[in-house]
């Protein structure tokens, strides 16, 4: 009796969450800026965490929640690292351009 209620409920939740995941993917593809895409990836990570937790209860495998915790940590780390790397690359290019312009101006003068 109990199984017959929980099983369809979890399957329904998984289907709804996967549709939401697809919509997030549309945002990640459409997003005009890099921050948009990173934000969409962060949202997808959150939804995948809920999906993994539902699967842990559906399959009666408790260790899947450990994987969910590790997923949360790696998702957070990836967002922070990619943001920092992108800021670093942008500033580097900016400085190179400024140096090049400054060098040209010096040569002209």
């Amino acid at each position: 009796m109990k199984e017959s209620i929980y099983h369809p409920l979890f399957i329904l939740l998984l289907i709804v969450l996967s549709f939401m995941l697809l919509v997030c993917l549309i945002r990640a593809v459409k997003g005009p800026r890099v921050a948009d895409r990173l934000m969409a990836v962060n949202m997808m990570g959150t939804m995948v965490m809920v999906m993994i937790s539902i699967l842990a209860l559906l399959l009666r495998e408790g260790y899947l929640v450990d994987i969910c915790l590790i997923y949360a940590m790696i998702s957070f780390l990836s967002v922070v690292v990619i943001s920092k790397v992108y800021i670093g690359i942008y500033e580097e290019q900016h400085h190179y351009q400024e140096d090049a312009e400054g060098g040209n101006a010096d040569e002209c003068s």
């Binding site: 939401m20 921050a35 969409a40």
Partner: protein
């Protein structure tokens, strides 16, 4: 099925329903606003509130065991991690956007902003100034 289990099922379903509504609101906000720093407000809500509601519902389903404890740990971790990642993302946007001033108001130094805020606080007609600024 006893009455306690029915109550658990109903309360858990209620929490998960709230979480799904919050996820849906998050998606709606992400497509509704038209700039990253606005969208981030909607996106950060699902990271903390949405996953908290969903996991509290699943915790009620799961009962009292180690799985529940790990789910609680996930919620606590995301409470700390989500604001930090939002902050880093907004710094990325502010550092790499060259024409940020066309999207929002920017003060070159903090002193100007503080002076304006102090002036607005001292005067009695704060509403008038804010109306004139906007």
């Amino acid at each position: 099925m006893s009455a306690v289990e029915w109550i658990r099922l109903i309360i858990g379903c209620l929490f998960i329903l709230v979480g799904m509504v919050i996820f849906f609101t998050e998606l709606f906000g992400v497509f509704h606003f038209n700039y990253v720093l606005n969208r981030m407000h909607a996106a950060a809500m699902g990271d903390t509130l949405g996953i908290s509601a969903c996991l509290i519902g699943l915790m009620i389903f799961s009962g009292l065991n180690f799985t529940t404890l790990k789910m609680f740990l996930i919620i606590v971790f995301l409470w700390f991690a989500s604001p930090v990642s939002s902050h880093v993302l907004s710094r990325l946007e502010a550092a790499t956007n060259d024409n940020l001033s066309s999207h929002c108001e920017i003060y070159e130094d903090v002193e100007t902003l503080e002076r304006e805020l102090a002036a607005a606080g001292k005067d009695g007609d704060t509403e008038k100034k804010e109306a004139s600024v906007s």
